[in-house]
Symmetry: C2
Subunit: 315 residues, 2 copies
């Protein structure tokens, strides 16, 4: 029983209940006794946006992108007349939110425009210069609804869960639809996850022999969502995950990859009312929630299972 | 000086000389004192074929492939009339060796035929079934010139070097032109490198929701050689390597990626006469050797710098 008590102490932001018990029981089942899974095979994967930090009212990466577009439009005023630069300049982000919503409804037309303009920010830039630019953003930006740094817009219970899993021999990876190199500059500080454990969507890259730099091309390599997530997990890790956590339809294949190998699948359900502005949060998670009730996917209710959502602000 | 003595003891298959000194001095310079590189940034990358194990007279993966083609040709005799199945059935591997030689001379036409037939072996197969098939090969196959298991056709000095680097806080990755999932089933046992630290050429993958498996498509995703190596290093690791080691022209960009960041670049030069059958070994390394003398690339002479090449056979 001391193991269970230790687990409760390691997960102080989780409420006493079936969800926390399911996690603790599963971890015990794969880490204790003669049938324990070898340490090297204990892999856990988590989506980022909406799973490890809030993605409402606007995904963090869009916030960064908007700032870059504004700078571009100031340098070239003709850009300010067309989307998405117009949104960036006017501060009327409705078009952007609608583009994301359309994506979740299966229409990627505006998302493609977004991606095209995103690619225009980085084309020709070295990976190290981009990391520096993104790092500056994280230093100064504030979450649009919470008014606090993004470092304090992360989900404290999920950070506790990652530490708890590591304490039981797991290696934790982030597997996100978000762009990989936008996450890497913050994951160690925010989540304790190093850049080499960050899997995400990828901009095209090319080796520039003259400068000895790897630089972004003007293309997207792949969008790491839906059926691409298990593919990228295998490519990067070479193992089927034992635990997978997500919050939306795009996470379902990854959850199934874990579940069908006998693993634990967690679906964070945003049934609370914090940190999202006025945007409904279940949109884009309908299929995942429906699947959860049909299959053995463990739903994490934010309202019921978490006693604290965000970390306490640093004074 | 005790650090240097420890290093000598950790590298017993390396001879006393400038190359070993260069390695020991570089490792000391980046791991000791107030200017030491943080542990998490100590990344070393090594090519596999020709760098960590012998690739002559035939790359190990070709040996596996030939066996698979033979099985396919026995099931479908019409295949036996055409290459590369004919080579597999007759045991006349001249065509295969010539295809590889042509690749190193810049002509990939026969290599594409090889890849097409390779893809035919795995198309539709799950990644886990392929890993099992490859694992069986490693259990039984013998190196064609040495007549010993492939586990004993690896370069003992390089394994010592990887352990030495790990003892100094480095994380070691394999970055090979060879196919990633063909290496993964052996790298832990042979080299002490886990599958998540294996970077290589990639077959196409797709998620099969019905079975919950990741399966190979009939295509090649990318060939991890030449300028693709720094790109894949960044994609997988998100850091510029501090040490890079290779043995052929295709490793030059990766060596330059390390060197231009102030790192150590090692080029294994096969100037010995062991373990390669009758195939000259410098072919395919001409540019790299020429570049080494122009730039600060440290050449590792097999004849001069290694006192032992292969591990002692297990009795």
């Amino acid at each position: 029983m001391s193991g269970a008590l230790d687990a409760v102490r390691a997960l102080p932001s989780w409420t006493d209940g079936a969800t926390r018990d399911a996690i603790i029981d599963f971890v015990a089942s794969v880490t204790e006794g003669p049938g324990a899974v070898p340490v090297e095979e204990r892999v856990a994967v988590f989506d980022n946006d909406g799973t490890l930090w809030t993605e409402k009212p606007m995904p963090t990466q869009l916030h960064y992108i908007v700032g870059q577009w504004k700078v571009q439009a100031e340098a070239d005023p003709s850009l300010a007349e067309k989307q998405p630069y117009k949104a960036a300049v006017t501060g009327d982000y409705g078009w952007l939110g609608a583009a994301i919503d359309k994506h979740y409804q299966g229409d990627d037309s505006d998302l493609q425009i977004l991606i095209g303009a995103l690619v225009g920010i980085t084309a020709g830039m070295s990976v190290e210069d981009y990391a520096a630019s993104v790092g500056e953003f994280y230093e100064s930006a504030k979450h649009l609804a919470l008014g606090r740094p993004y470092a304090e817009a992360i989900y404290a219970p999920m950070v506790e869960l990652m530490r708890y899993l590591e304490a039981h021999g797991f290696t934790v990876y982030i597997v996100s639809g978000g762009e990989r190199d936008f996450m890497r500059p913050m994951t160690q500080q925010y989540y304790g996850i190093p850049p080499e454990h960050v899997v995400g969507s990828a901009l095209g890259l090319a080796w520039d022999a003259d400068s000895g730099e790897v630089r972004y091309t003007a293309g997207l390599d792949f969008f790491d969502d839906g059926p691409e997530k298990p593919v990228r997990i295998w490519s990067r890790i070479g193992r089927r995950p034992l635990i997978a956590g997500g919050n939306s339809n795009g996470d379902l294949p990854m959850l199934e990859f874990a579940r069908k190998g006998g693993g634990l699948a967690l679906l964070v359900h945003h049934d609370d009312d914090s940190g999202r502005g006025d945007t409904p949060y279940d949109r884009g998670a309908e299929q995942a929630l429906a699947a959860a009730s049909d299959r053995g996917i463990t739903v994490v209710s934010v309202a019921r299972d978490w006693s604290r959502i965000f970390p306490d602000p640093v004074a």
